[in-house]
């Protein structure tokens, strides 16, 4: 019984930490969760993930660099960032409620998948050319700025575009490329 109360309390605390934005970016670092929830925070998150499944949500772990092949080490978990994301997909109607037009989503899909095939870095000019193929010129610049502002893309001083934190947190990159090429995928890189 004591154990149950203990975990109920920890789950509530984890829910507050993960749902409410505490910093400039959403999500919480592993070391922060360890400090607030204790060393068994992975177990707490696992139980919370089970509860969230019923709501079509999940606790997502985004590791620094590539996802470790085996069990992640404590250090890797400490450096990872934890988010709450949707578990299932969205329907086109639902995206409208989130303020995304079909043009915006198609543009984002194009920009992200193009950068993935270019090893995670592509000149802004090339991406814009590709977008201009389907979107009016005046919209391209607005959309690119929106993708950068939202954290999907980042741009350096040489006008090179990179995938930013939100892409790593929200998008199953392998599935996206595979779907675009019309192939099936089972594994996920994220």
């Amino acid at each position: 019984m004591k154990r149950k109360v203990y975990y109920t309390r920890k789950i509530k605390r984890a829910t507050h930490l993960l749902f409410y934005r505490r910093h400039r970016k959403p999500g919480v670092k592993g070391w922060e969760l360890r400090r607030k929830l204790g060393s068994d925070y992975s177990k707490v998150l696992k139980i919370l993930d089970g509860h969230l499944e019923k709501l079509d949500l999940q606790v997502k772990t985004v590791f620094e660099g590539e996802k470790p092949a085996g069990e992640p080490t404590l250090e890797q978990l400490d450096k990872a960032r934890f988010y709450i994301t949707l578990r299932g997909g969205l329907t086109p109607k639902e995206t409208k409620m989130m303020g995304w037009r079909i043009d915006d989503i198609a543009g984002l899909a194009t920009a992200i998948s193009y950068i993935i095939t270019k090893k995670g870095k592509a000149p802004r000019e090339e991406v814009e050319d590709l977008l201009r193929n389907k979107l009016p010129g005046w919209r391209v610049d607005i959309n690119m700025s929106r993708y950068i502002r939202s954290g999907y893309l980042a741009e350096d001083e040489n006008k090179q575009l990179y995938l930013d934190w939100r892409t790593r947190a929200e998008i199953d990159q392998k599935a996206l490329v595979a779907l675009l090429l019309g192939t099936e995928t089972e594994a996920s890189i994220s």
């Binding site: 507050h16 930490l17 749902f19 409410y20 934005r21 505490r22 959403p26 999500g27 949500l57 999940q58 997502k60 988010y83 709450i84 994301t85 949707l86 578990r87 997909g89 969205l90 329907t91 086109p92 995206t95 989130m98 079909i102 043009d103 989503i105 198609a106 984002l108 899909a109 194009t110 998948s113 193009y114 993935i116 095939t117 270019k118 090893k119 870095k121 592509a122 000149p123 590709l130 193929n133 389907k134 040489n158 090179q160 939100r166 947190a169 929200e170 998008i171 199953d172 990159q173 392998k174 599935a175 996206l176 490329v177 779907l179 675009l180 090429l181 019309g182 594994a187 890189i189």
Partner: protein, 270 residues
Amino acid sequence: MSSKRKKRGSEHLQRVIEMCKSIEERGLDPFNVDVDDILAVIQKYFPEWESLEELCLDAEAIHHLASIIKLQGDWVKHRSTSLYTDPFLLEEKIRTLSKEELATIFLEAWYPVIELEQISLHSLAEATKYWQSLLPLSERWLKTGSLEMETGATTREELVKLRILAEKSFLEELEVFWEELKHRVGGEEKILYWDFIGADTHYETIKKAYMASFLVTYGYATLELYPLEEEIFIKPFEKSRSMLGKKQMVSIPVSISFEEWTKWKGGKQN
């Protein structure tokens, strides 16, 4: 080595550096560079370089060539991963798919982050208190009538005494304050904001809070907020990282009213 030959060699190395740089910066295919060929050129001129400038140029060429070899390595590594896709094939696919098809595909691989933003009762109370104490604009911008005064001369000492001029320049004072913060933090990386600005008198506390606001604005320190715990930490940087004009700045109002100060002092004494 004749000066003409030296000049030619130096120009050759400059071209190599420029080429490597443009590949690095523009993300072009690193295999466009024939590493063996360039190494042979560098080797050819190396025994004859004498001055420091010439040797530096040689080192720079080697450095950029090493970066190109690293890029070639990364390229091979990427090709061997399951994420590798022929960019031309994908570009072709993107061109042929309609906007609707692209969006539908994207939705199957998109799991947006869920986050909430909600004001707490405490922040609401603080904000109300602030609003109530805020004077109307008409009063704040009230112009005082000018009085006719007899003009005269004053000295710097008198201005310092009247607190019109400071004994030290503001930046000097700020740097001393920064050192004080670093000293107070000691081995830790941050300190509770109130523990740093809190002083024996309310006047001194306000003065320290005023200086702390400039430490943060000028990039000498940063604030860390923990809304759930209602805690604010101030964390000094080793070097100043001014973001003024580079980044969207965020203002964080912190109440340092007499009541807050009394509460803090009481807590400290207990």
